[in-house]
Amino acid sequence: MSELTLTVMRLGFLAVLWLFVIVAVQVIRSDLFGTRVTQRGSRREAARPQQPGRQQARQQAAPPQQRGQQGGGRRGRNAPTKLVVTEGTLTGTTVALQGQTITLGRAHDSTIVLDDDYASSRHARIYPDRDGQWIIEDLGSTNGTYLDRSRLTTPTPIPLGAPIRIGKTAIELRK
């Protein structure tokens, strides 16, 4: 067997071995971020995370306005893409906005679980309306939700960068 063939085989084998490792890592990656959007019955779409417990809770809270939202962030140039916690114990936490409803509160199945005596267990929720505008709605909390120092009474569109305050926590939407 010629030296050249053996060298090619040797390098080829290493390449194939590493290819396998890379493919395996890709499978893990798709396993981690593989949220699936499934249409059912009333054409409603819901992101499906892996944990069914949370998934169920989120879907229960999902408003009808989600209809027609395409999962990704293709809603126009000025659409916010993430929600950032700027004050409070969860400072620095970000949640990607992908057309799903975000619930806030002390309840364990909330998207953002607030560890705050001033927060109600189901305090507020943030959801996109038909045009992709993000809306915050107070869910009858005890101490109220504040958008830029004014207490919310009705579902209100959230401007980019405006602080939403719940107890000691402040969050805002960012691009």
Binding site: L6, T7, M9, F20, A24, S42, R44, P52
Partner: protein
């Protein structure tokens, strides 16, 4: 429970098995890949050694493919939601191990040794038995929580398995370590490999019950949580047992494995860092203490600290009553001559390690023939198996499953670390086998059983809507209302 959820608005969405992908096709694709790679390696060895494709290529490829296919069908049938990576990764390692063992069988030098046996056909047989055991685990272990019932029985079984090699007439002292039992007519068996799994079951069951006592009833002292004396009992007992293994069976690896596994599970169960500190201190103290009077361990430590000196002593035939080993140095040379990209399949000289070249030192062969690049890939594959195990533990809903999965993957990781570290000169050499790669029936059987249990737990963990177990009345009960 068809799990229909009525959202507050009048939209109905079904959360059921439809949503979660079972990923069996991904597994099949990866499995085909994992069979093709060893076949490629096999052809490569033949071409390098004899200049022609080995005659057994077709039968070998078909054999491995058939075994992998059977395992895949069993997973498809009995654990449809299981992790898609565990089976292909294990199959690839097993296949590469087979190729490497076959490659060492072709060595003229090893064939000239007095106790030479062609190992590859046997290893293929062990692999078949291992896959059979894997399938049996999947069929009969419908729910891993069943194992919880056998907590204390498994403790007893593990102790018996560990003591067996010491029973006179049954145990066999091979190269200074008494970890084997001889079964007349069948060959020898390494019960420690199976004890690993059984002990993980015991630890998981025990810690699930006792973890609150261990975690909460403690005093704070210098930033560490010190457990109460009576809670410290079990860890002391396990420590004592592992030290006793070390003393009577002179098996450093197994004792490290068991104690390490216990500390890992204790840490996961209680979330107390102090256990890790205690564990490290205790194992260090135990190892140093035993090494100070056990000559076999002393030799190993000597060979680790100064492998060149051991090599020369062994070569010059130093007659000081201690069995000197030249293997540690030879393994390092094998790694060194491999370099970054290796010499290529069949072109190394790792057969110079002579005996144990295909078992304890198989990684040195890989190091020489595949180089750093190949060994890194293999270590990454081990890492991925461990990662999938830990992932399974994270996803598992019941504490017993969590602990069992973390214990099994922890034991697997520790074993890889102990063997690879030993061969590469990071820690003293121990007589343990590289899971799936090395020649040895017990190791292959036990590790396939381990993968089977992990697959069972991951199937339960990833199953989308959990069927309410243990509550069969729910469906039967009919409420009859007077109308």
């Amino acid at each position: 429970m068809s799990s229909t959820t009525n959202s507050p608005t009048h939209h109905t969405s079904t959360i059921g098995a439809i949503g979660a992908p079972s990923r069996r096709n991904t597994e099949l694709a990866l499995l085909v890949f994992a069979v093709v790679i060893p076949v490629f390696a096999y052809a490569n060895v033949g071409l390098a050694l004899d200049g022609q494709v080995p005659s057994g290529l077709l039968s070998y490829g078909l054999g491995l493919g058939l075994l992998a296919g059977v395992a895949h069908l069993a997973v498809r049938k009995f654990a449809p939601y299981a992790d898609p990576l565990l089976l292909p990764l294990a199959t690839l390692l097993n296949g590469l191990g087979l190729v490497c063992i076959w490659r060492l069988d072709q060595s003229k030098l090893l064939q000239s040794l007095p106790n030479f046996v062609t190992a590859a056909p046997r290893q293929l047989l062990y692999t078949a038995l291992g896959i059979a055991l894997f399938v049996v685990v999947l069929i009969f272990l419908k729910d891993h929580r069943v194992l919880q019932r056998y907590t204390y029985i498994s403790m007893f079984c593990a102790l018996v398995l560990l003591i067996l090699p010491l029973v006179p007439g049954l145990g066999a002292n091979i190269y200074g370590a008494k970890i084997w039992i001889r079964i007349p007519g069948l060959g020898s068996l390494q019960p420690g490999e199976f004890a690993k799994i059984v002990l993980a079951v015991f630890f998981a069951g025990y810690l699930m019950v006792k973890r609150d006592a261990l975690a909460l009833a403690s005093r704070r002292f210098m930033g560490l949580y010190l457990p109460r004396g009576r809670d410290l009992g079990p860890i002391l007992v396990v420590w004592a047992i592992s030290i006793l293994i070390l003393v009577f069976e002179t098996d450093l690896g197994t004792s490290l494995l068991f104690f390490g596994m216990f500390v890992i599970m204790l840490y996961v169960a209680t979330e107390r860092t102090s256990w890790i500190v205690f564990g490290l201190l205790m194992s260090a103290a135990g190892a140093v203490g035993v090494a100070s009077f056990e000559p076999h361990i002393q030799t190993r430590v000597q060979a680790w600290l100064d492998p060149m000196r051991e090599y020369q002593l062994s070569r010059s035939g130093a007659n000081d009553g201690i069995l000197h080993s030249e293997q540690a140095m030879q393994a390092l040379w094998a790694f060194g001559s491999g370099g970054t990209l290796g010499t290529g399949w069949g072109q190394g000289h790792s057969d110079l390690i002579r005996f144990a070249a295909n078992s304890d030192f198989i990684l040195a062969t890989f190091g020489e023939e595949l180089g750093l690049a190949g060994v890194m890939a293999i270590l990454l594959i081990y890492g991925l198996i461990v990662e999938r195990g830990v992932r399974t533990a994270l996803a598992a809903r019941d504490p017993f499953g969590k602990l069992l999965a973390i214990g099994l993957s922890g034991a697997f990781a520790l074993q890889v670390f102990v063997v690879a570290g030993g061969v590469m000169g990071l820690i003293p050499l121990t007589g343990m086998t590289m899971p799936f790669l090395a020649y040895g029936g017990s190791s292959v059987l036990a590790n396939w059983a381990l993968i089977g249990i992990l697959i069972r737990i991951s199937d339960t963990a990833r199953r989308p809507a959990p069927t309410p177990a243990g509550n069969p009345d729910a469906e039967m009960t009919q409420v009859v209302r007077p109308s």
